[in-house]
């Protein structure tokens, strides 16, 4: 520590150590915050299966399921000082015809809707236009945590993604359920998904499955060509 340059180096070196340790303690402080997410309602409101092409020039025709749904959930307890954003998504799941021995996935699972909910500390990172950004920032002005952020209430929500299957067949598929998932993305620490069992102060997400339902038959188009069965 005899010269200025050496003191600069040593001070910076110890600063990096302190920064790392503080970050580790912040990550560990997540465990002290209870997580009690709850789902009020998750149900389908409208089901439709249509035929379409994966992209414009494709000659392959596939069936696509369009699943509209309603969702009421309170995930606000997932927002702590260390939460950067919350990724919420709804999947549709159904068992494979042959089960796990058929060379297929035992369970088919596809995301139909997702959303990123930013914490007020991460609002500036949201992928929004200037007007929507202003509105988002004003909605939590002066607050470091906004308890309204995690409250979801969707009525007859259109899916973001129409889902299909590698076989191209989804019509009249039975035993389909919707499942709500979340993924907490902290400022420092590890990513956490909805866990299967209670873990100390973190409770599992209950009631996050819809009732089993059956996808309908293909909706007949009005201008259906004769003999277009292949």
């Amino acid at each position: 520590m005899y010269s200025s340059v050496v003191r600069l180096q040593n001070t910076f070196g110890f600063f990096t150590t302190v920064a790392f340790v503080v970050a580790a303690i912040i990550a560990a402080s997540d465990l002290l915050a209870p997580r009690t997410p709850s789902v009020g309602l998750l149900k389908t409101t409208n089901l439709q299966v249509v035929r379409g092409r994966p992209h414009y020039y494709s000659s392959k025709k596939e069936e696509y399921a369009i699943i509209k749904f309603s969702l009421d959930a309170d995930l606000s307890s997932l927002f702590t000082w260390n939460t950067k954003q919350l990724f919420v998504y709804v999947t549709a799941e159904w068992p494979s015809v042959g089960g796990s021995g058929s060379g297929q996935n035992a369970t088919n699972q596809a995301v139909i809707w997702d959303s990123i909910i930013t914490s007020p500390s991460a609002d500036h990172l949201a992928n929004l236009g200037p007007i929507a950004m202003k509105k988002l920032k004003r909605s939590a002005a002066g607050k470091s945590i906004d308890p309204n952020r995690g409250k979801l209430s969707l009525k007859n929500q259109r899916p973001k993604y129409q889902i299909s299957h590698p076989s191209g067949k989804v019509a009249e598929q039975e035993d389909v359920v919707l499942r709500l998932h979340y993924n907490v993305q902290p400022w420092v620490g590890i990513l956490t998904w909805n866990q299967d069992a209670d873990f100390w102060k973190w409770t599992t997400l209950r009631n996050n499955l819809s009732k089993k339902f059956k996808l309908p038959a293909i909706k007949k188009k009005v201008e259906k060509k004769a003999g277009a069965s292949s």
Binding site: S3, S4, V18, V22, I26, W81, S144, W187
Partner: protein, 102 residues
């Protein structure tokens, strides 16, 4: 003249401090940075505001840099007293590496 200014500039840039000062600055840096980290965490945790924690931590670290890096006079209060150049005979019976100096 120019040489003198150059010498002063070099000393200012090097910023040497004495041995007692080096001991003191090491202690100061370790204690102050640890305190800054602890304060940053508790302020952030109590107010549940991570941005505030980052700003407190960075501001405190900047203050520690300002305290530790320049050769402040209180790091130079125990200068080393060198023997004068030449003119002094070594003391009798001085032993270095088992050899007697005369």
């Amino acid at each position: 003249m120019a040489e003198q200014i150059l010498e002063q500039a070099r000393e200012l840039f090097e910023g040497q401090i004495d041995f007692e000062g080096q001991k003191l600055v090491e202690l100061l840096v370790n204690v102050a940075l640890t305190l800054v980290g602890a304060i940053a965490f508790f302020v952030g945790y109590l107010l549940q505001d991570i941005k505030l924690a980052v700003y407190v931590g960075l501001a405190g670290t900047a203050a520690v840099f300002l305290l530790a890096v320049p050769p402040w006079p209180f790091f130079n209060r125990n200068p080393v007293k060198w023997l004068p150049v030449g003119g002094i005979t070594p003391p009798a019976n001085l032993v270095v590496d088992d050899k007697m100096f005369r």
